[in-house]
Symmetry: C2
Amino acid sequence: MKHPVRKTLTERCKRKGLRITAPRRVILQVLETAQDHPDVDELHSRVREIEPGVNIATVYRTMNTLAEHGLIERHSFSDGRARYEAVPESHHDHFINVDTGEVIEFRSDEIERIQEEIARTYGFDIVSHRLDIYVRPRQPDDD
Amino acid sequence: MKHPVRKTLTERCKRKGLRITAPRRVILQVLETAQDHPDVDELHSRVREIEPGVNIATVYRTMNTLAEHGLIERHSFSDGRARYEAVPESHHDHFINVDTGEVIEFRSDEIERIQEEIARTYGFDIVSHRLDIYVRPRQPDDD
DNA sequence: TTTGCAAGTGCAATTCATTTGCATCTGCGC
DNA sequence: GCGCAGATGCAAATGAATTGCACTTGCAAA
Ligand SMILES: [Mn+2]
Ligand SMILES: [Mn+2]
Ligand SMILES: [Zn+2]
Ligand SMILES: [Zn+2]
């Protein structure tokens, strides 16, 4: 079986000794079901639809805790605020549509491999990396 | 001739219609001679060694102006503040030593090419990109 | 060379994302 | 059920970056 069903974020939190409080339960659920890369304000508003009392400071603190435990990824695209996603099944990088802000995921094994190769020639081990490609829909070339 | 000596930053500013004021002259000189990727505070302190009256708001404003005119690149590595460098002769990406914060430049034509290729398959034109690879000196593997 | 004025600057105040101090609350191991 | 370390709410603080405003200055035109 290629994909034994992945442990839920909540389960993975418990395993790390993090308490599952009411705010966290909701935050984790929101992260798990998000199909995009929400910022803290967006997370907060999604959380409040389910659990209105949750404070935005709690969302900030939870993002830090989850990131420290390696359960979510923090991105900083060119728009000031940090954006988050649950650590994906398998690594990917991002296109950002500069006209709309839309984020599109992609993966290139070839790029990943060459990064390793280059790092090795420099005597480095890779800890992490980020490749953000800012794009716009292809224009027919009017020459 | 491969490398006609490149126009100085100051010349390129003039050509864009930007005024060469005393603060700018110094800021441009500092950028031109920097061998690293200084943040605004660092730029400001280098500038003040030459021209003590320059205000940090002027450094911020000048970074914005120069970036808008495509004369410098703004980076945001994992340490909160923006870092700058004069637009390089030819594009490169960066390793960041996570232990020391040191930034090392590299270039991979292969990675650049594959990015273009992938973008094309998604129907995008690339506007810009950034590849930051966080690394540490290679550890002999103790298994 | 002088002049006019838009662009640039210094300074202080402001903005905005994020963090933090503190009193209170609560998950969860015993 | 108890105890308490960890988590939360709230308000205040932080820190990078921006901005309003009065004053200065580069530089094109005269
Ligand atoms: Mn993603
Ligand atoms: Mn560089
Ligand atoms: Zn990648
Ligand atoms: Zn590149």
